[in-house]
């Protein structure tokens, strides 16, 4: 009788051990997707507002108007990788090809960093020489895995004399 109970408990424990990563994966997938969609909506809305103030990669100002003020502005964001993205990238590394789960992460981070840079100078007419710097932050147990991604966007905010 006791042996049956022990093996039943062992079976339960085995089940639970298997279910935990599946649960985390499901959490990462559903909550992660929802977070990403919400972030993209916020990015779209803010980009519409800032559409008239362009972020340019040009070094030279082609505008004939004289410059009233120019200053360096910086925008920065650190976004973490979720469980589903990590598993998807491991699976992708077996087959090869584009890691689409990380592409959306970097795209969000870059657009967010540029938007934050623009909010540093609300009265500017344009942003010149916009550059992006990307760094990866080490993950949890395994130092080689990526825990989060940091994007730094910087440029010169220029306001012209009217």
């Amino acid at each position: 009788m006791e042996n049956e109970q022990v093996s039943f408990l062992q079976g339960c424990l085995g089940c639970v051990q298997l279910l935990i990563p599946v649960f985390l994966l499901a959490l990462g997938f559903f909550v992660g997707r929802a977070n990403e969609r919400r972030h993209y909506r916020s990015i779209h809305e803010r980009e519409q507002r800032w559409l008239s103030v362009p972020a340019l990669a040009n070094k030279t100002i082609e505008d004939p108007r004289p410059v009233a003020q120019a200053k360096l502005v910086v925008g920065e964001v650190v976004i973490s990788v979720d469980y589903w993205k990590r598993i998807a990238s491991i699976l992708r590394s077996l087959i090869g090809g584009e890691v689409r789960s990380y592409s959306s992460l970097l795209d969000r981070a870059r657009r967010e960093a540029v938007l934050r840079m623009k909010t540093q100078a609300p009265s500017a007419h344009a942003f010149y020489n916009v550059r992006l710097e990307t760094t990866s932050i080490a993950g949890g147990r395994n130092r080689k895995s990526i825990g989060a991604v940091e994007v730094l966007a910087y440029g010169t905010a220029v306001r012209f004399k009217e």
């Binding site: 972030h39 120019a70 976004i79 973490s80 979720d82 710097e133 760094t135 993950g139 989060a148 910087y154």
Partner: protein, 104 residues
């Protein structure tokens, strides 16, 4: 102190060049040590604590560069660039550099 990442300050003329000035900070970043970041590692999303940390270390690096420029007698730093690199495992250096100049 005027800072720009263009090659000159638009609308002003450079009267004197003082040379390269720089500032740097090294930050240790490890998501695993942070419990909140560990949770965020399951669902994803922005790590606000880390963004704050990066902001502070970046401001510090810029302040160091500006201090160097002030010592030389400059009133502007042009062509400012940022560069990041992994120094040790889990530590990254943020390096900011530019040309110290005097503008009229």
């Amino acid at each position: 102190m005027i800072l720009t990442n263009l090659e000159s300050v638009p609308g002003r003329t450079i009267v004197e060049h003082y040379g390269l000035v720089n500032g740097s900070t090294i930050r240790a970043k490890h998501v695993g040590r942070d419990i909140m970041a560990g949770l965020k590692n399951i669902v994803g999303g922005e790590l606000k604590g880390y963004t704050e940390l990066m902001n502070e270390s970046r401001t510090q690096a810029i302040e160091r560069m500006v201090a160097q420029a002030q010592e030389l007698g400059a009133n502007a730093v042009v062509n400012v660039r940022f560069s990041t690199s992994q120094v040790a495992q889990g530590a990254a250096e943020l390096y900011v550099y530019g040309t110290a100049v005097k503008v009229a």
